[in-house]
Structures are given as C-alpha cells and as structure tokens.
C-alpha cells in the first residue's frame, strides 16, 4: 500500500472564488448580504419592503437563486431594482462561481447594497461562502421556535436574524422569547429583528440598520 498525502479543503475552489468576489465588493464599497432561510419564510417579501423604504437612499441590486423559475426576479423587477436570476436546476444552494457569473451581468459600479437571495434551504447554503459581508437568516414564526437548535450551522454562521410573520404569533405554536433564546444559544452575537411584512412592524428598524451599512459600505 502507498499513501499519498493530500490535506486539501474540499471546498477550496469555492472559497477562492468567494474571496475574489469579496475583494471586488470591498474595492467598490458594495455591502453584500446573503439571505438564507427555508422556502416561504419571506425573503422576497422582505426585499420588497426594503426597496419601498430605501429606494431613495441606497442604490440596490439583487442576485436571485432558485431551483426553478424566475418568479422572484419578476417580483424584484417590479420595483425597478436591477436583478439577475440564477436557476440552479435542482441544486440546493448557490456557489461562489454562480454568483461571480451573475455579477458580470449587473452594473455594479452604481450599487451600494447587493442582496443575494439564496435557494430556500436551511442546511446546504450554510457551508458555501459567496463572498458576502454577512449572512442574514430569516425564520418565520410558522416554522416553530425550535429551528435554531435543529439547524445550528445556519444560525451560527449568520450575523443577523430576521424573525418574520410576527403578526401570526396568536395563531401559531411559536414563542418569540423561546425562539430568540434558542438562536442566541447557538450564536450570542446574532443581531435580531422582529418583523412582519404583512403589517410592516419592525421593518423600519431593519431598514435603518441597513441604511447605515449601505452608506458606509461595511
């Protein structure tokens, strides 16, 4: 038997491209967020609310990732925000190379805030760096307050948690304090916003925070 020593990271190629993306964004002062959640948590609705609040203050663009269809890109385009749709054809997450391709299709010289809406999935996207400044995980109250414990990698790797659909609290089995506590057990540094895209509650606080990021580029 012979042993060949390798000692290489399996995702090294992805990580290299992600680092290149990150340098590109940093050089241009673009603040990039990677939005992750399970399907239906409200990522696109949050983007819509964000466009309404910030369109006069920040120049925004979106890279959409979906398994099929460009339905989300159509929703974004309604707001006259530049958007590129990536269809992964079954792939469960975005990779840095796909994002790099999409970047080539956007005029990023005139963008302050770039949102990358990942494929709806609380597992796979956590392991793939895209070159973003930070990950924003969205969890809706209908999913239950135990999810941070069940999908710890996603909550540990994120910097911001948006708890969406807080207007449904009276009707669903989800305790906000428990949800928040569980998320902070996994990641004590998480910045948490409680929001509702239906009523608009909490959206201002989230957008205010985002406005600061878009202005400073970091």
């Amino acid at each position: 038997m012979s042993i060949v020593t390798i000692e290489r990271k399996v995702l090294e190629k992805n990580d290299q491209i992600a680092e290149r993306n990150r340098r590109f964004f940093r050089d241009r002062g673009i603040f990039v967020l990677n939005l992750v959640s399970s399907p239906g948590a409200g990522k696109t609705s949050i983007l819509e609310k964000t466009f309404e609040r910030l369109r006069d203050d920040c120049r925004m663009a979106v890279i959409e990732g979906d398994v099929q269809t460009d339905l989300d890109a159509q929703r974004v385009a309604e707001y006259q925000v530049p958007v590129v749709q990536i269809v992964t054809m079954g792939g469960c997450h975005l990779e840095a190379g796909l994002v790099a391709d999409a970047m080539g299709k956007l005029d990023l010289d005139s963008v302050d805030l770039l949102f990358i809406e990942n494929v709806g999935n609380l597992v796979c996207p956590s392991g793939y760096d895209l070159g973003e400044a930070l990950k924003v995980v969205v969890l809706s109250t209908t999913e239950g307050d135990d999810k941070p414990l069940k999908y710890p990698a996603m909550f540990r790797n994120a910097s911001v948690l948006l708890i969406n659909k807080t207007d449904l609290i009276p009707y669903v089995n989800c305790r906000l304090d428990v949800l928040r506590g569980n998320a902070l057990k996994i990641n004590p540094d998480l910045r948490v916003f409680e929001i509702s895209c239906s009523t608009g509650a909490g959206i201002d606080a989230w957008c205010e925070w985002l406005r600061g990021k878009g202005a400073s580029g970091q």
Partner: protein
C-alpha cells in the same frame, strides 16, 4: 419511476432525483483526487480519507452514498471513502479553556461565557489516498 423528469439536472443520471449538496461535495473530492493521482494509477485507489466536522453541514452517510455511485462508474471504481468525523470543539475567550460540545449550546461549561471560538468541527478536507502497489512501483 413513472413520471419521467422533464428537468435537466446537472448530475449523474442515477442520482437525478437526489438533490443534496453531498453530491457536489463528492464531485469536488473526486476532482481533488484526480489532480493528485496520475490517471494510470486511478484503478489502484482503495481508500480516500476525508475529515468531516460535525458542524460542516454534511451528512456522512449521504456523502458516502453519492461518492459510491459516482466512483463505481469512474476511473477509480474500487475507491471508497473513509470518513473521519470531527467533533465540535470551542475555546472560551473569557477563561481560555477548550472543550468539546456534546450539545450545540454555545456556553462555556467552566465560566458560563458566551464569547466562544469554534476551533474544530467545521472541517471538510481530503486527508490522504491509499493505493495498492504494483510490483513495488513507488508513486
């Protein structure tokens, strides 16, 4: 399978209905192996040792399954994965102590601190490759 899929998936036909990222990871592992072992020796590969952290978001059984299907029809048909799982461990920036985590609660069991650095458990690496020798031919 009664309904023929209309979608063109970018993966092995036998795994057309398997949508998991372990498939892509298995492909990456094969690619790294191809870059490391001369093509003529691929048939001699028996084991590929990989390190998978508990916190890497990878299901070892799924990875093993995907790799097995792909390797079986590749130039390295007798290659098998040897998966070493690495537990999640942290260092507390408060008291400086290191500990392994049984449950994923980011709380130092010694001082109760929450400022923790994950020092292992995120690994996803190809460690080494074992090949059978042919006539004492060194690699």
């Amino acid at each position: 399978m009664k309904n023929e899929a209309k979608t063109q998936y970018l993966c092995h036909p036998r795994l057309r209905f398997v949508i998991m990222h372990e498939l892509g990871i298995a492909q990456n592992i094969m690619e790294i192996v191809r870059q490391s072992v001369p093509e003529g020796l691929a048939r001699d590969i028996r084991k590929i040792r990989v390190r998978v952290g508990q916190f890497a978001g990878v299901v070892p059984d799924s990875l093993d399954f995907c790799f097995g299907v792909m390797a079986g029809e590749s130039e390295m048909p007798r290659a098998a994965l040897l998966i070493e799982e690495v537990p999640t461990a942290c260092r507390c920036r408060g008291c400086g102590r290191e500990f392994e985590m049984e449950e994923l609660v980011f709380l130092c069991p010694h001082c109760g601190g929450t400022d923790l650095e994950v020092i292992s458990g995120k690994e996803l690496e190809v460690v080494d490759i074992e090949l059978v020798d042919h006539g004492g031919e060194a690699l």
